[in-house]
């Protein structure tokens, strides 16, 4: 049985294969690859708009159907049921489970109790492999990933998308530029792991210092709850805001990506520049999730 739990479980060939499959679905080259007799459970125990809707859309585009719960309040978890029991029960209803859960490692646990494939749609501050795949897919639409310079900007301490993406990029000989406010730097053990994987990691304190070297700038949300008060939050957030004047002299093909939702990190005026690719990135969630759903249920 094929589960999709963590980007650490994938090698370069696995990632390339899934990206190729997503491209085929995107181009309409897989019309015979359908899931019309299949049912997926979308178990979302944490809020989500894009991930949940894009999994539902992907399943519908493949001709399959989805059922699910949208919150802890609407499930038996409020009655004290364990996730393990929920997974065992739901396994009896469906052909695959897509799980979002607030606890790290929840998807790994689910895969141990499920009798159907499990896809991790985000587990707390842990892994979110389908997001990483759509990030890679968006980059690869414009340029080969090998050897490029990627900047990660924002909350690199708690941001799960940044960690997963960095790990995946380490398989492509990418030079990573980390740009984070004090206290939100990438954890030392992750930076060490990246370097052990042979990745060049360059730390910057200021986005201006790095932006002209970059092929991709990946912006993540700086969460207000990480700061002791609103004043210190606004101080940091404003100094990490991407505005059109910051983009003078950047490479012509620079892509600005963001997993969304954004909360002021990117000035809406940037949306009108050719560098803004985050809405296209969000759209790419559908072909990637089609590839994943098809792969685990084919």
């Amino acid at each position: 049985m094929y589960h999709i739990i963590s980007i650490r479980d994938f090698g370069r060939r696995d990632l390339d294969y899934l990206l190729d499959r997503a491209r085929e679905f995107d181009a309409g080259e897989c019309r015979s690859a359908t899931l019309d007799d299949k049912l997926v459970a979308l178990l979302f125990f944490e809020p989500s708009t894009r991930t949940r809707m894009s999994f539902a859309t992907a399943m519908a585009r493949l001709g399959g159907r989805s059922i699910g719960v949208d919150s802890v309040e609407a499930s038996s978890i409020v009655k004290g049921e364990t996730l393990a029991d929920t997974i065992r029960v739901v396994s009896g209803y469906v052909d695959a489970i897509v799980l979002r859960h607030p606890k790290e490692g929840a998807a790994r646990l689910a895969s141990e109790f499920a009798s159907v494939p499990v896809i991790n749609a985000g587990d707390g501050a842990g892994q979110h492999p389908s997001q990483t795949l759509l990030d890679l897919y968006t980059i690869r639409q414009s340029m080969p990933i090998d050897g490029i310079d990627v900047g990660l900007l924002g909350d690199l301490r708690y941001g799960r998308t940044a960690h997963s993406l960095a790990l995946a990029l380490s398989l492509y000989g990418v030079t990573l530029h980390t740009i984070a406010p004090g206290g939100l730097e990438m954890p030392a053990n992750i930076a060490l792991e990246l370097r052990e994987r042979g990745m060049e990691v360059v730390e910057h304190s200021d986005v201006q210092e790095a932006i002209r070297e970059l092929d991709v700038l990946y912006v993540t949300r700086i969460q207000r709850e990480r700061f002791p008060d609103s004043a210190s939050y606004y101080n940091v957030a404003s100094s990490y805001r991407i505005a059109p004047d910051l983009l003078a002299g950047v490479k012509d093909h620079l892509m600005i990506l963001h997993p969304l939702p954004r909360a002021g990190e990117i000035d809406p005026a940037v949306d009108r520049t050719p560098y803004a690719r985050y809405f296209e990135q969000a759209r790419n969630g559908v072909p990637i999730r089609m590839a994943l759903l098809h792969e685990v249920m084919k």
């Binding site: 963590s6 650490r8 004290g80 364990t82 996730l83 393990a84 859960h101 607030p102 606890k103 790290e104 490692g105 929840a106 790994r108 646990l109 141990e112 587990d123 707390g124 501050a125 842990g126 892994q127 053990n189 060490l192």
Partner: protein
């Protein structure tokens, strides 16, 4: 017993049956007992010597447990705290088996994950699981890395 031994006296007397754990890293004897689940309320007859002089280690701890022969999986847990420890299985005052300890590749239910957000710290029916890496213990659920102070995380 030689004259020299007599002058120093015997720190702990020999046991008839059971296990002697020798060459424990000095100061770790009580943690070793904790790993083995031996507390003040268990029935085993114990002798513990700490900071005993050792030619090889400078100082070492020794634990003797009467009427209990340690199983391999118990022995290997000790390796986390005392990688040089030697296990002697005693029957009728004789050493019938002598073995070193080996750190297992996977530790299940031995160490609590320090990450409060880890699924293993909930009411789920699952044991903590760590892989043992040269740089520390890696939680296979949440990817947390315990680099030092392992004794404090032992369940």
């Amino acid at each position: 017993m030689s004259r020299k031994d007599r002058s120093r006296g015997l720190l702990v007397s020999p046991i008839k049956n059971g296990t002697v754990i020798d060459h424990i890293t000095a100061g770790e004897a009580l943690n070793v007992l904790r790993i083995l689940g031996i507390t003040g309320s268990t029935q085993e007859c114990l002798s513990i010597a700490t900071n005993v002089e050792s030619k090889r280690m400078g100082k070492k701890d020794i634990v003797k447990i009467e009427n209990r022969e340690l199983r391999t999986e118990e022995v290997d847990r000790i390796a986390l705290l005392a990688p040089q420890a030697k296990i002697n299985i005693i029957r009728d005052y004789r050493v019938v088996e002598k073995k070193g300890v080996e750190i297992p590749k996977i530790l299940k239910g031995v160490v609590r994950c320090p990450n409060p957000g880890c699924i293993t710290n909930t009411n789920e029916p699952v044991e903590s699981t760590f892989e043992v890496l040269p740089k520390g213990l890696h939680c296979l659920y949440c990817d947390w890395l315990i680099k030092d102070d392992i004794a404090n995380h032992i369940i």
